[in-house]
């Protein structure tokens, strides 16, 4: 925090970081897919395959149901916009950017809720059975995942005495070696919520189009061309947001605190390495787990909520004490 840069430079950096975030999200998705294929002894697609898919989708003509309303057309833009804004809030390469100061972790959860709300509305807008089913499942999961995520956020907020992401990261960075059980529980809770919210195994299978089990895919079944591209891209950004959140909050080492070229380069390398490793962990988890029945998902998320609650309780009981 030594060198306080001029506002213009800081805003420019914030914009660049957000763009980098959005541009790198398909790359992370491609990396996850590639590692997973290697893990399961399959031929892996190229790392840039998600970009090709997006480009292909953007080049196609939109086909829309005839009873689609303006809501159906507007939703992809709302969803994508919400995730771009959310990506702007999350520190990726550098902390203390001006965008991180204008919104905190609770607003981040709010962005996710906004996107989900519109997606569920659009899914029901056409009136197909699958859309309604997907929307109902998504909302069921969300209504359980959101309290767990908020509780984990509150635990972090109590430890660092702030809800601002940059300050939380900085607090963890400068705390040194402190064994905090609450952080471990918050990490586990956040990881479980991330798995549920990004539609990974065991809650949802991102690779399937099998009608009876899909959740997220069922909602976007009616979308095509650029609308579909925007939604797919948004869900890739969502995965990246969760990964960057977990990586930077719990392993903040390497994140740039001052806006020099060396620090920013180090920050970029550090976050790339962290995300790549986190993706490998995710893939291993997805490979060893079997998808659970839909009716067991509430139990899974109930446990995530309990972990987050336990994080807060251990913080109050053990770490603060009387």
């Amino acid at each position: 925090m030594s060198a306080v840069p001029e506002p213009a430079v800081a805003w420019l950096l914030a914009a660049v970081q957000t763009l980098l975030f959005i541009a790198a999200a398909p790359l992370l998705a491609g990396w996850v897919k590639r590692v997973k294929c290697h893990m399961q002894n399959r031929a892996a697609p190229a790392l840039i395959q998600p970009y090709r898919d997006l480009a292909k989708l953007f080049g196609k003509d939109v086909v829309m149901a005839e009873n689609a309303s303006w809501l159906f057309r507007a939703t992809p833009y709302v969803v994508f916009g919400a995730f771009v804004l959310a990506a702007a809030v999350v520190p990726l390469v550098a902390a203390h950017l001006p965008t991180a100061a204008i919104a905190d972790m609770i607003v981040l959860v709010g962005f996710f809720a906004l996107a989900r709300f519109f997606l569920a509305l659009a899914a029901m807008d056409i009136g197909t059975a699958f859309g309604g089913m997907g929307a109902s499942r998504e909302m069921t999961i969300a209504s359980l995942a959101e309290p767990a995520m908020l509780m984990a956020v509150f635990t972090l907020a109590m430890i660092a005495a702030t809800t601002n992401l940059s300050v939380v990261i900085e607090h963890n960075l400068h705390a040194g070696l402190v064994l905090r059980p609450s952080l471990l529980f918050a990490l586990l809770a956040l990881a479980m919520v991330a798995v549920a919210e990004t539609g990974r195994i065991p809650v949802d299978n991102p690779a399937t189009h099998l009608e009876l089990t899909m959740i997220h895919e069922a909602m976007i079944l009616e979308y095509s061309a650029r609308h579909l591209a925007l939604i797919e891209w948004a869900s890739q950004i969502k995965l990246m947001i969760y990964a960057a959140l977990i990586a930077n909050i719990f392993w903040p080492w390497g994140i740039a605190e001052e806006f020099t070229v060396a620090a920013l380069a180090l920050g970029t390398v550090a976050i790339s390495a962290k995300l790549a490793l986190l993706a490998i962990v995710l893939v291993v988890w997805e490979t060893v787990m079997a998808k659970m029945r839909l009716f067991r998902v509430p139990q899974f998320l109930g446990f995530a909520f309990l972990l987050a609650l336990l994080g807060m309780l251990t913080h109050v009981i053990l770490e603060t004490g009387a």
Binding site: V178, L179, P181, Q299, L306, L318, E319, T320
Partner: protein, 225 residues
Amino acid sequence: MNLAQLTLYHQALLFAAALVLFTSFIMLATARIQPLIYAFAWQGTLLAVVTALVALVSDHPHLYISALLTFGLKALLIPWMLHRLALRLNIMHEIEQIAHPSIMLMAGAVLVIFSYYVATPIVHLSTLVTRNTIAVSMAVVLLGMLLMVSRRKAVAQVIGFMSIENGLFFAAVVATYGMPMIVEIGIAFDVLVAMVLFGVFFFQIRASIDSLDVDRLNRLSEKGE
């Protein structure tokens, strides 16, 4: 109390205490017998770690013996006996239907808050380095009771009972730096004998009602079906 100012051993002690509490919740959420036994063994291991760390932090060397005793008995011997019993009864992979699993977990969280509330006056008066873990040890006792209340299978109830004993031992270690050695050894043997007796009971219960579901003990079957 500022966590960052404590020594690393002290922090590790609090960390291990939190994990002991966590294993209690794992047991509450586990429906199958095999993971339940493993979770119980982990709780015993962590309890031994806590005891050893208390010995280190508070400079009470006799607690090392307690830690060894705990490890041998609660992390190895009793889980091994339970494991063998479960194998012989052929219930290793049996899944018990837990009624309202999420509500059970939330009830567990409520019990933790309750024990925090109860322990707060003690914590205010105490000057021990381990005073913050007193609430956790009480919570482990209450969670063991909840496990016993919520399950119908005899093996799960026995594990709940053993978990209560774990909690009591935990409380004794952190609230008074352990009991006199003779008492501790006596309790250890009591627990061992209880375990052996439970083993006999399992076979008796199964022989007489053809199941380990203790709810069936409520039914009188004099008429003969």
